[in-house]
């Protein structure tokens, strides 16, 4: 098939395997080994996208991940992924690509009208207009701006792909596999150190894969790469990761890598993840990220066909693609000359080499002359022509006065440019190192290391093949020694050729055009021009951060890798300040845009967060129980019988517990074993209650405050022995209580001899509650006298349940006779199934959290986090009795003494009864004294809990009300949208006020 710009031979593509792909529906052909960009160029397609703001036609600029223009969408499995770089997309058979940010088509885009109106759209224009009429912003202006902005279309359907996660440790992580990176990896690996080598490209080798004019150990550089990679692959201590980008450098040498596993495959194995996140803790990091070429800033430097010189050379040598038939090379440095020579050697007409420098090196001029290439020194490009592809360029001659004289026009169909090289310091900067300005290199370079890393090769402006190899070997050896103490004798390869030469320029080039009428782009994707940067400076934006944010330069998907240095130089020139005074913006992760799915990994559905299940879970599922999420736990909420809704089920459960017996899974409550000679003293200090006199075998309700004096947790604590307590906490509060205890123990009371162990998951707990509770459990319990005298309310004893050891508590959260049986988790299912099977036979019922809530509300027991909210003191809650008055100290004691906490007018815990017993108040509803409060009236309080009570055959509610304890009997109002509901303030205990049911 015709690929008119494909060379006859050469390149690393597989000419034997032809692949078919489409771009905007049109069919093309390429080869295995092509990127989408190289395949499009082989077909003569340069126009691939439209710019962000002006919708200017744009072509492929680079050959790497920094590409700002050639962003496309890829269709696959019925949906598309936007904003992928054509320069990174490996071609596969059947690939479907579409262009972006154009309507109706890439060739004819109505958005291009913006380019004509561009005089109205300078940097930051939107801050100055769209303010009138005011109502138009939301309704007219913003929707228009939004639909014009954005690049590709977002995916619309849930992603079906999977993503994997891998943690790894290594001695040396090498990021980048160009000459320095390969040398570093080899040197480190030969010492026996564990090495990970990653590279964002499909093949290792970096610049060596497109080198035409050098040899290593007398061999073609690509062969050296092949041998080196083969050697590394054979070593067990080396992990080679191609298609893997080191995108984030975090604290303590923690580096995140993104491996793209299947995107390059036509028919990926469905078992493979699309991408894999590597989270690597490296003892040493070698950054071998190389350097990227800098565009030149001249008028109309953005037409399709205009490309970085090194990209032109890469397409030729690596992919066998000629970027044009008549190529103009514009440069400020030596490296671009080699691109011209290589093209000429492949029969491409190089119409001229235009070098900014007055006197380029003689040897280059000689080589050019030998090939018959016209050389224009001291010359710049001052403009280009051609709408969808460059047709010709305007030249300008630099005069000694600093002016530019017209140098004629020259026809071409491609223009290769090079403003010099910018070392890639992103990873170094992410490691929190401060880059240092090196004026002689015209670049920011890595400064002092703040983490265990070193940069090597072009990423620290070491250029030239031999120098990069030497630097890489040395970096690899040093890193391995630092990491593992190991050394080895390394045979250095030596290179011939591949010299870097010199030259480079920053900022905008001078020209003889009307500066206010032409656009010289600094940031291609975001359409930021040199004059935009100057305008920002003129308007007072003097910091590079202001310039960046005002003009959006450096905020495109390449994060300023192509644009920052030119923008900085233009700003510095305009301000007449050195670049160091203007500053450089901080490089942030990710190095290149990174898929959300990679971060999310397997966290979807049930894997989103751990699901904690109790021993009763399967039984509840089988018996139609409904669950609620309480922190990570699945708790049984209620157990509807056929035909019952939640209300009916809960009413039945409540009645059964009050009249007979109920079974409740209390396993989710936090449990902490507090052990040691000072255990009682420790609890004495933590909880408000006194503990020292609590006898072994007895329990007490414990109230925990924060140091501000507010209730944060509660639970029953049993003393098993002099030095051993079984502490229970709320379900949601368990981790915090343990953390708080450890915090105090380790930082404040290191004198106490106490151990804390979380035992939440070591016990399964069945609460059996109701007047028939004792007779119900008696057959299963051995070793404990259950009689009221021997085992009164608030007791704990150890015995057995069906022959397995248990801790039996006699406690109640329902107001009925109650027991909580704790057995080892391994017997949890046995216990639950034994009890649940039996209870149904005996006319009892399992019950869920909702019934538990209702029953405890009937008794006025608080639920921390529902009836309290972090602003309630024990006194507010009517629980002053829980405070040990004679205690020397406890957490929150001083907080409780603060003036506002003892002042009148605090909100206090009360009961509420609606005048109409059928109305159930909404939890969270506000309470006022006025029946029709005016807007802005401060609430007297709010409803914290509200239920229908089966026992009382009416609704009940609990609330926090200002001065509530003194207002019993008063009528207050709950204002609702449909009208106010009158309520009477009552005490908090609605059922069995005397507690007769408890002490039976």
């Amino acid at each position: 098939m015709s690929q008119p710009f494909r060379t006859e031979k050469g390149g690393r593509i597989d000419r034997g395997e032809e692949l078919t792909f489409t771009f905007d529906g049109e069919e093309f052909h390429g080869h295995k080994g092509d990127t989408l960009a190289s395949a499009l160029l082989a077909n003569g397609v340069h126009l691939v996208g439209r710019s962000f703001k002006y919708h200017r036609p744009r072509g492929i600029l680079s050959s790497g991940s920094e590409e700002p223009n050639a962003l496309v969408g890829i269709y696959r499995n019925g949906d598309q992924t936007p904003n992928l770089r054509a320069t990174q997309i490996e071609l596969y058979d059947g690939l479907e690509a579409i262009s972006q940010n154009r309507f109706p088509s890439l060739g004819f885009d109505v958005g291009a009208v913006n380019d004509l109106l561009s005089p109205l759209f300078p940097a930051g224009f939107y801050y100055k207009t769209f303010m009138w009429p005011k109502s138009f912003w939301d309704r007219v202006y913003e929707p228009i701006i939004r639909s014009a902005a954005g690049l590709g279309k977002p995916p619309r359907t849930p992603d079906q792909d999977t993503y994997a996660n891998q943690f790894a440790h290594c001695d040396v992580l090498v990021a980048g596999s160009g000459p320095s990176g390969l040398a570093a990896a080899l040197a480190a690996a030969e010492t026996g150190a564990r090495v990970i080598l990653c590279d964002e490209q499909a093949e290792c080798g970096g610049s060596l894969l497109s080198e035409s004019n050098a040899s290593i150990d007398g061999k073609d550089p690509a062969n050296w790469v092949h041998e080196t990679v083969a050697r590394l692959s054979s070593m067990e201590n080396v992990t080679l990761l191609p298609r893997t980008t080191a995108f984030g450098y975090f604290a303590h040498n923690f580096v995140a890598l993104a491996e793209r596993v299947t995107d390059h495959l036509a028919e990926p194995d469905s078992k493979l993840p699309r991408e894999r996140l590597w989270q690597v803790r490296a003892k040493e990091v070698v950054i071998a990220a190389g350097a990227i070429e800098r565009p030149m800033v001249f008028p109309e430097n953005d037409r399709p066909g205009i490309m970085l010189a090194d990209a032109g050379r890469t397409y030729l040598n690596r992919y066998g693609v000629k970027v044009g038939h008549k190529v103009l090379v514009a440069t400020a440095c030596d490296t671009a000359w080699q691109a011209a020579f290589d093209l000429a050697d492949h029969g491409v007409e190089v119409v001229a080499i235009v070098d900014v420098r007055e006197t380029p090196p003689d040897n280059l001029i000689a080589i050019a002359e030998a090939r018959g290439i016209r050389v224009e020194a001291g010359c710049v490009v001052t403009g280009t022509l051609g709408r969808k592809r460059i047709k010709s360029a305007l030249l300008g001659r630099l005069m000694t006065s600093g002016q530019v004289a017209s140098g004629g026009q020259i026809d071409c169909d491609a223009l290769l440019m090079s403003g010099g090289w910018t070392p890639t310091v992103s990873l170094y900067s992410q490691s929190r190192g401060k880059v240092v300005w090196a004026p002689e290199k015209g670049a920011f370079l890595p400064g002092i290391s703040v983490q265990k890393e070193r940069s090597t090769g072009a990423s620290k402006a070491v250029y030239g093949l031999q120098a990069c190899l030497e630097d890489g070997y040395a970096a690899g050896e040093a890193a391995a020694t630092a990491a593992s103490g190991k050394t080895a004798t390394i045979t250095y390869s030596s290179a011939y050729g591949g010299e870097a030469g010199s030259g480079g320029i920053l900022g905008a080039l001078p020209h003889d055009r009307n500066a206010s009428r032409v656009k010289a782009f600094v940031d291609y994707q975001n359409d930021v021009t040199a004059k935009d940067v100057k305008l920002a400076v003129r308007e007072g934006m003097h910091s590079i951060e202001h310039i960046k944010r005002y003009t959006t330069t450096g905020m495109a998907t390449d994060q300023g890798r192509l644009s920052n240095m030119n923008a900085l130089e233009i700003a510095s020139g305009t301000l007449d300040k050195p670049v160091t005074d203007v500053g450089l913006t901080t490089f942030r992760q990710p190095y290149t845009p990174t898929t959300f799915g990679l971060f999310a990994g397997i966290s979807r559905g049930d894997f989103f967060d751990a699901v904690r299940k109790t021993a009763s879970h399967e039984w509840v599922v089988q018996h139609g129980g409904v669950f609620e999420d309480v922190s990570q736990w699945k708790r049984a909420w209620y157990f509807p019988k056929p035909g019952e809704d939640m209300h009916a089920a809960v009413e039945r459960e409540c009645r059964t517990v009050r009249e007979s017996v109920g079974l409740f899974d209390a396993s989710t409550l936090g449990k902490i074993e507090v052990v040691g000679p000072d255990a009682a003293e420790f609890l004495e200090r933590m909880y408000t209650n006194p503990w020292k006199k609590l006898a072994p075998g007895r329990c007490r309700y414990g109230l925990l405050l924060n140091d501000a004096g507010f209730i944060v947790d509660d639970g029953v604590i049993g003393r098993l022995a002099e030095d051993r307590f079984h502490v229970t906490t709320t379900t949601g509060g368990a981790p915090n209580v343990l953390a708080t205890m450890e915090d105090y123990l380790q930082t404040e009371w290191s004198d106490l001899n106490v151990w804390l162990t979380s035992t939440t998951e070591q016990y399964s707990v069945a609460a059996v509650q109701g007047p028939k509770a004792r007779e119900f459990i008696a057959p299963f319990i051995e070793g404990i006298d259950l009689s009221a005298d021997a085992f009164p309310h608030m007791s704990v004893k150890e015995g057995t349940f069906c022959g397995v050891p248990c801790r039996l508590f006699r406690i109640s959260f329902t107001g009925e006779l109650g027991f909580e049986i704790n057995v080892s988790r391994r017997y949890g299912e046995m216990m639950w199934e034994t009890l649940a099977t039996e209870i149904e036979k005996r006319g009892g019922t399992p019950y869920g959290t909702e019934t538990m809530h209702v029953l405890r509300a009937e008794k006025g027991y608080i639920i921390v986090g529902q009836d309290t909210d972090g602003t309630v003191t024990p006194y507010d809650a009517g629980m002053g009795w829980a405070i040990g008055k004679k205690k020397f100290d406890f957490v929150g004691k001083r907080g409780l003494a603060r003036t506002d906490l003892v002042a009148d007018g605090r909100k206090q815990f009360v009961g509420l009864l609606t005048k109409d017993p059928k109305i159930r108040l909404e939890e969270g509803a506000q309470i006022t004294t006025s029946e029709n409060p005016a807007t802005g009236t401060a609430a007297e309080g709010h409803v914290t809990s509200s239920y229908y009570s089966a026992a009382l055959e009416r609704t009940i509610a609990l609330a926090i009300v200002k001065n509530g304890h003194a207002r019993e009997g008063q009528t207050l109002y709950v204002p609702m949208p449909e009208g106010s509901i009158p309520v009477e303030v009552t005490g908090t205990v609605f059922y069995d006020k005397e507690g007769a049911q408890l002490n039976v």
Partner: protein, 417 residues
């Protein structure tokens, strides 16, 4: 100050935009000011603006260690809302909401306040109770907030996943329609330009190194990198570094600073119509005018002044986003950054006089300062000008941590049973 308008833009197009003036000057500090504001973030600049525009106090300097708007003003996720629980908070944030309505016009600078609606999701029974409590409290306080069923929430925000088979299904949402987003940089720049035009000196790249007090203990001036500057009054609005600056005056503050991370995706065409927040699974998301998905995370667990956080926090946030919006799993993160949030024990700000005569403090905004910018500056200017708080910020004293009269916004988020 030359007014901005479309006409002015068109006029300047003819002179190739060569004649736009500076948005603010870069003056050298004078020897003395009536008021020195320490910190040129949104709150500090707004304070200076309102001192000049509402109280006629124009001999004002705003002193900034770095560049204006470079701290949390330029690092947040730009969410604006006022559906707070307590009357005190709701009044403060609602005051700000009132000022947001006309801010672009008042400043003659388009701050792009966009009332796209803020949807706060409930995933558990406890969340529902908490949201309902907020809605009831807000209704009484005159603050807009309403309850949506999962289906109504999906109507309002079509990308939302309300399937029941996810780990924490959406059980409903509280919607504040007047909430939304604004362009954070423009807020700082608009106030800077407005204040500068009224005579306020904004002095950037000038760290405050000391605070001088006279023998009575009153404020006398500030030591800076550019020399000593006399001041009758000093207002410190330095976010996470407020405690450092206040320490120079011998005032200790109950502040803790944590890294807070945010991130943006690559820009895409409109995909997300509003703001969605989920406190339970820690995710906040909106789409900027430029097309980026703007995503906020929870704070890191440990105190730090580092403007960077751990990857596990980012992972967790994106987990949550992908769970609620599984179609965004193929989107890509463009940039991830951190800010430092200064938090108080009750998670409400301090906007107050201090024990030092002439010294005022505005800090402790935690993760929620941006939305309050206009209201905060407005009442803080009042406090400085009148030497007594505005009724709206009267409850937000330093003293409350001594008396216990807290305004605990973390309260309603307390854990359940």
């Amino acid at each position: 100050m030359k007014r901005y308008s479309f006409l002015e833009l068109a006029k300047n197009a003819f002179s190739a935009h060569q004649n736009w003036g500076r948005q603010w000057r870069s003056p050298e500090p004078k020897a003395e000011y009536d008021v020195v504001i320490v910190g040129a973030g949104g709150h500090g600049l707004a304070t200076a603006y309102y001192l000049a525009s509402e109280h006629g106090i124009r001999n004002v300097a705003v002193i900034e260690k770095g560049w204006l708007g470079g701290g949390n003003t330029g690092r947040n996720t730009t969410i604006v809302r006022s559906n707070y629980l307590w009357e005190e908070s709701a009044a403060l944030y609602n005051h700000a909401i009132g000022l947001w309505q006309n801010l672009s016009q008042e400043l003659n600078y388009n701050v792009m306040y966009s009332a796209r609606g803020v949807l706060m999701l409930a995933h558990t029974v406890h969340d529902v109770q908490s949201a309902q409590r907020h809605i009831h409290a807000n209704r009484l306080a005159g603050v807009q907030n309403e309850w949506l069923t999962p289906e109504q929430a999906k109507d309002y925000c079509p990308p939302l996943n309300i399937e029941k088979n996810i780990r924490y299904p959406v059980m409903g949402a509280a919607l504040q329609r007047v909430g939304g987003t604004a362009r954070h940089d423009a807020v700082a720049w608009g106030y800077a330009r407005g204040a500068d035009a009224l005579g306020v000196d904004i002095i950037q790249n000038c760290a405050v190194t000391g605070i001088r007090r006279n023998q009575n203990g009153s404020i006398e001036g500030v030591e800076t990198a550019k020399g000593y500057i006399k001041a009758k009054k000093v207002g410190v609005v330095a976010a996470g570094h407020t405690s450092v600056v206040m320490d120079m005056a011998g005032v200790r503050l109950p502040l803790e600073s944590f890294p807070l991370q945010a991130l943006v995706s690559e820009p895409v065409k409109p995909a997300f119509p509003c703001v969605v927040m989920s406190n339970t699974i820690h995710a906040y998301i909106s789409q900027s005018d430029k097309g980026e998905l703007v995503i906020g995370a929870g704070t890191d667990q440990f105190v730090s002044y580092s403007q960077a956080g751990g990857i596990h926090i980012t992972n967790h946030t994106i987990d949550a986003i992908c769970e609620l919006f599984p179609q965004f799993r193929r989107m890509r993160m463009l940039r991830n950054w951190g800010g430092i949030v200064d938090t108080t024990p009750d998670r409400s700000p301090i906007l107050s006089k201090t024990p030092v005569p002439g010294l005022f403090v505005n800090c402790g905004w935690g993760t929620g300062g941006f939305k309050a910018t206009p209201g905060s500056g407005h009442v803080f200017a009042h406090t400085i000008a009148k030497d007594e708080p505005h009724p709206i910020n009267a409850p937000f004293t330093i003293d409350r941590f001594r008396t216990g009269r807290l305004i605990d916004e973390a309260a309603a988020a307390a854990v359940a049973h």
